[in-house]
């Protein structure tokens, strides 16, 4: 693993988009930055933006650390990313429709059928059923990493219930309050239209019978869920109810919510609970979070679910290596965004390679999330590597491996001052029958520990505001950036 690419750069390598940030950092004493950071923490605590972590002791309502130095993406870079993201999500939706429909990509042998129909995430309940508008993953979060000026990779797709968008919005609000002058010196693409776009996406997903003003709700597992704040935040921003399973019931295949004025019909459910818990009649019978009969109502075309059940086959880590094939197969295009080369431990050749190179690879659970159950070879102890070797041999299909990428870094305020820290980026992609919409930006997660590549909030990661900068910087900045390497 070589030296990581720093997105700001320094000296003659300072990248143009960061010119004003570099000047600001040079001109601002560390103590002043520390004060701003404390102020940011106070703001977040006050609004109550917390991330619930239960079962680990300590305060269950934690703040995700917020770093006040923004991460910047130039408009031209963003446009390339956005085109690639749109392409990828269109292919993922086409794949889902095909996998639960005619299965042409499987028949053509472009993806092993067993990987799809034999997948734990495959929902037979969805087979032969087309959701309203034919869209499956209405809201997708695609995790991107960068390794060089022009090298972006998709690390993973999140087609089920991606979270984090509230941080994209609240981080921006906090930055606006803390640094109005910095905002005046930049032309930053706004993100605050996201809730409006989300509501439009959800309304567009409504079944035909719903009429012009469909009733949309957000279904949350409840206030013990780590993303509960986000569920409420989005509901509030969209002006819709946030409901729990017990607030809904199904009567004659129609979903109703219990209100003080009696039962009210629900047309679209933006569900933030996993498939397994959606409907105890159809899935996990033990679920207390879901709504008995929900799948009947869904299949009767009386309610829309966003995202559709069964999207897990599209973001499974073992299916991931085939996404470029999906793009070629369904869209007849070459993929614009790269995949990280991935070894499937289930396949003999790949497995041999993985076991021989454990000290150089990242090993992940094929269906894990949240950075749990992961081995980062170069940083692991010999004992940890041996443990994973045994696990892989015992359950090869549960594991995939990828080379360790030299994730890009962005300057970050840490105890010792300003230092480069590794980042990733999760933009949110909204799909309807006719369009794909992406608010410019996303959630930048940063690994706060020196050298760490794990950005997950459950594993000590933090977040940054992400600025998509319109190309023409203000005149003042232009003169500053002359003579620097432009990107």
């Amino acid at each position: 693993m070589g030296a990581a690419f720093d997105e700001m750069g320094e000296g003659p390598q300072l990248r143009a988009a960061y010119a004003e940030i570099a000047r600001w950092l040079a001109a601002t004493p560390r103590e002043a930055l520390a004060v701003k950071r404390a102020e940011a923490e106070y703001l977040f605590r006050k609004v109550g933006i917390t991330f619930a972590v239960y079962g680990e002791g300590g305060d269950p309502e934690r703040l995700i650390p917020f770093d006040i130095i923004p991460r910047i993406i130039a408009r031209a870079e963003w446009e390339r990313l956005a085109t690639g993201l749109s392409q990828r999500v269109r292919a993922l939706n086409a794949f889902l429709a095909d996998a639960y429909g005619k299965g042409e990509i499987l028949k053509a042998g472009r993806i092993p059928a067993a990987l799809v129909t034999g997948n734990e995430q495959f929902r037979p309940e969805m087979a032969g059923f087309t959701p309203p508008g034919g869209v499956y993953t209405h809201i997708a979060g695609i995790d991107l990493v960068r390794t060089g000026p022009d090298e972006f990779y998709v690390l993973e797709d999140n087609c089920r219930t991606p979270s984090g968008v509230s941080y994209m919005l609240e981080n921006r609000e906090a930055m606006l309050r803390l640094f109005p002058r910095l905002f005046a010196a930049h032309r930053i693409a706004p993100v605050n239209r996201y809730p409006e776009e989300l509501l439009a996406t959800l309304k567009a997903a409504a079944p035909g019978k719903a009429g012009h003003q469909p009733t949309v709700v957000i279904l949350t597992p409840g206030h013990f869920n780590s993303a509960y704040y986000e569920h409420c935040f989005l509901a509030d921003e969209m002006g819709v109810e946030v409901v729990e399973g017990a607030d809904l019931f199904v009567d004659g295949d129609v979903v109703m919510m219990r209100t003080t004025a009696g039962p009210k019909r629900v047309d679209v459910i933006y569900r933030r609970i996993d498939d397994d818990y959606l409907d105890p009649e159809a899935f996990n019978p033990e679920s207390m979070l879901g709504v008995p009969g929900l799948m009947r109502a869904y299949r009767a075309g009386n309610v829309a679910l966003a995202n559709a059940p069964g999207c897990g086959i599209a973001d499974d880590k073992a299916v991931y290596p085939y996404v470029p094939e999906m793009i070629r197969f369904y869209l007849g295009e070459e993929p614009l965004l790269n995949n990280v080369p991935t070894f499937l431990c289930e396949q003999e050749d790949d497995r041999a390679h993985v076991l021989a190179n454990l000290d150089r690879l990242v090993v992940k659970l094929a269906q894990g999330s949240g950075g749990y159950g992961m081995l980062i070879g170069p940083h692991a102890t010999a004992a940890q590597r041996e443990e994973f070797r045994a696990r892989i041999i015992a359950n090869p299909s549960h594991y995939i491996a990828q080379p360790t990428l030299a994730l890009s870094t962005v300057p970050t305020l840490v105890e010792a001052g300003i230092a480069p820290r590794h980042v990733d980026l999760r933009p949110f992609v909204l799909s309807t029958k006719d369009s794909v919409r992406i608010v410019p930006g996303g959630l930048t997660r940063v690994a706060l520990r020196e050298g760490s590549l794990v950005v997950n909030s459950s594993q000590g990661g933090g977040t940054k505001d992400t600025w998509v900068l319109d190309d023409a910087p203000s005149v003042q900045v232009q003169s500053q950036s002359q003579g620097y390497v432009s990107c």
Binding site: G48, H223, V243, A246, T259, T260, G262
Partner: protein, 308 residues
């Protein structure tokens, strides 16, 4: 509005009010303790419904144990800290129905109080602690009053506050009913009557309304039948009726048993006579009233929350 949201708002109103009522009770208890009646702490435990739990845990009533049980003990669901925790938890579940100011008042109260230990309210610190609790609840009620949209959310918070207050006044009176039914005029009785009024924040009001010495029948009348005292049973039940009617009006006149029952209770208070109440036995009357208030709470939940 979602039934669950209404439920949380209703209990949010009840728990914040309960915390303030317990604080008010404590305020009287420590004042009275100086008069050596010894009964004060037990009366307070009974009035707040905490006596069975307390006895099971501590047996003997001591001022220290009673204060700890009523303030801090997480095992007591009606203790001040438990009330704030429950209020905040209800508020947190319906964050979007609260205004930022209400949430801040609630959240900051909890942040300030959550780590409370005996050192914060023990001995001489108790009066200061009680003042802080009362201020936090006043701040919350003020935030609700000043910043909430006048919709159902506002009404359900008010409903909880008013019903809890009605229940509290009836209980406060009931634990001292014996003092209001006979009339020996010793210094100790006089202090007890003051205590009754103080625990309803009504001592000054008494003087403004009657401009006379304390008299047990007038005290009972003030706390039961006078519409101008915010903690009088009539004022509280009239508020409950008014709020229930406002909710019904917003829903095109949809009414249930809770509306009938609330109207009946309010009418009996509005047109009742104190002499009749005292003649029939104050304790018996208050016991019935406490029962009917509980029934009303149940009817509200059946109609609006469970949709029966």
């Amino acid at each position: 509005m979602l039934s669950r949201t209404a439920d949380c708002l209703f209990w949010l109103g009840r728990y914040t009010e309960r915390a303030a009522n317990v604080a008010r009770g404590l305020n009287v208890a420590w004042r009275m303790a100086g008069l050596g009646t010894g009964e004060e702490w037990r009366r307070l435990l009974v009035a707040t419904g905490c006596e069975p739990g307390f006895t099971a845990k501590h047996g003997e009533v001591t001022p220290e144990a009673a204060a700890d049980y009523l303030v801090r003990d997480p095992a007591n669901p009606s203790g001040i800290l438990s009330c704030f925790a429950a209020a905040r938890s209800n508020g947190r579940q319906v964050r979007t129905a609260l205004t930022v100011d209400m949430w801040s008042a609630l959240n900051e109260s909890w942040t300030q109080l959550r780590g409370t230990t005996e050192a914060d309210f023990g001995g001489e610190r108790l009066p200061g602690f009680i003042d802080r609790v009362r201020e936090r609840v006043l701040l919350f009620n003020g935030a609700a009053q000043d910043t909430m949209l006048r919709g159902e959310a506002f009404l359900f918070v008010r409903l909880g506050t008013a019903l809890e207050r009605a229940d509290n006044t009836a209980r406060l009176l009931d634990v001292r009913h014996d003092l209001l039914t006979h009339a020996p005029h010793g210094a100790a009785e006089y202090a007890q009557w003051q205590a009754i009024l103080q625990s309803a924040s009504a001592l000054r009001s008494y003087h403004w309304v009657y401009r006379d010495r304390l008299d047990p029948a007038k005290i009972a009348e003030l706390l039961i039948l006078r519409p101008e005292l915010p903690r009088a049973l009539l004022a509280c039940h009239a508020r409950v009726t008014e709020v229930l009617e406002a909710i019904a009006a917003g829903q095109g006149g949809r009414r249930g048993e809770c509306h009938r029952l609330s109207g009946e209770i309010t009418a009996s208070l509005r047109y009742g006579r104190i002499a009749d109440i005292l003649d029939g036995g104050l304790h018996e009357w208050l016991t019935r009233m406490i029962g009917r208030t509980a029934e009303l709470g149940e009817a509200i939940e059946a109609f609006y929350i469970r949709g029966e």
